[in-house]
Amino acid sequence: MRATVLVRPKPGILDPQGAAVESSLRQLGFSVGDARVGRVVDLEVAERDPVAARTEVERMCQQLLTNPLIETYEIELQA
């Protein structure tokens, strides 16, 4: 089963990468605001049951893939 984890900096937390990207986009002439830069982790999970797979990926997020103090995550699963 294919899993995609989207990791985002928590709202309100200073995101210097997002700020740098936003300022570059503005310099290119784009009218943008509130850019935030996160991270995508794609995984192939051996578990086939979607409920069990989600539980397993959540554990991965809590143990390693994210730091709950500063990041939020979303999990997408594809059979």
């Binding site: 200073l14 210097p16 740098a20 390693l64 730091n67 103090l69 500063i70």
Partner: protein
């Protein structure tokens, strides 16, 4: 009876690059630095542990996030749980935060620039083993060199740390955007300290400030008191 040259472990992770500087500084200041590989599941007989600076595991994912699962870190966690002295410098600080042994976390510098220069930090408390050789509010000049040294604690954590007096060093002129100007924090018991400045790079008058020797000297002094193994004491 105390051990004249206490043994202090310095753990090398893949990507550590200040491990040898830390060993050298400890030796210069009167300890015996003991190199330990991150894959070792047990610590040798030591009175304290230093986690050095560098870029463990290439700083992949988040700084320190992967190193915290090294076999040696399990041993460090139980060493610390028994009251053992642990000092994390820069990447070592990041690892301790990721491991949950110290509060907060380190984020990219607000400027996004890698900063490498001397900074001035203020000593906020002197009743930790690491700062026992300093005076209250003493200003120390110690270099930083990091891209992700912006300490972060949320609105609940910071007042808690203030109340517990866990903020040990603050920047006088905040270089990286750290919340509360935090340069160093300790755990509640005060036996684990993490700091972004590099005391091991400030011990030799030939290359600048020697204020780092106050921090490492404090560690060595405390290690000296702790390092009398029962067998050695009995032999004397």
């Amino acid at each position: 009876m105390t051990d004249a040259r206490p043994r202090i472990a310095v753990i090398t992770f893949p990507g550590s690059n200040d491990d040898r500087d830390a060993l050298l500084a400890l030796d210069e200041l009167g300890a015996t630095g003991v190199p330990v590989w991150h894959g070792d599941e047990r610590l040798p007989e030591v009175a304290a542990v230093v986690l050095p600076g560098g870029f463990s595991y290439g700083d992949y994912l988040r700084c320190g996030a992967i190193a915290r699962f090294s076999p040696a870190m399990k041993a460090v966690a139980s060493f610390a749980a028994d009251g053992g002295l642990v000092l994390g410098i820069c990447n070592g600080f990041q690892i301790l935060c990721e491991a949950g042994l110290l509060p907060g976390t380190l984020r990219p510098n607000a400027s996004l620039a890698f900063i490498c220069r001397d900074v001035v930090v203020r000593v906020e408390r002197t009743d930790t083993p690491f700062t026992a050789g300093c005076t209250h509010r003493q200003r120390l000049t110690i270099p930083i060199k990091h891209g992700e040294g912006c300490w972060f604690g949320d609105a609940n954590l910071v007042p808690e740390l203030e109340a517990n007096r866990q903020i040990v060093l603050r920047y006088e002129d905040n270089p990286n955007g750290a919340v509360g100007d935090v340069a160093a924090v300790c755990n509640e018991h005060g036996n684990i300290l993490g700091l972004m400045p590099h005391p091991e790079h400030a011990v030799d008058p030939h290359i600048g400030s020697t204020d780092g020797a106050l921090i490492l000297g404090g560690l060595i002094e405390a290690a000296r008191d702790k390092s009398v193994a029962p067998a050695a004491a009995a032999a004397r």
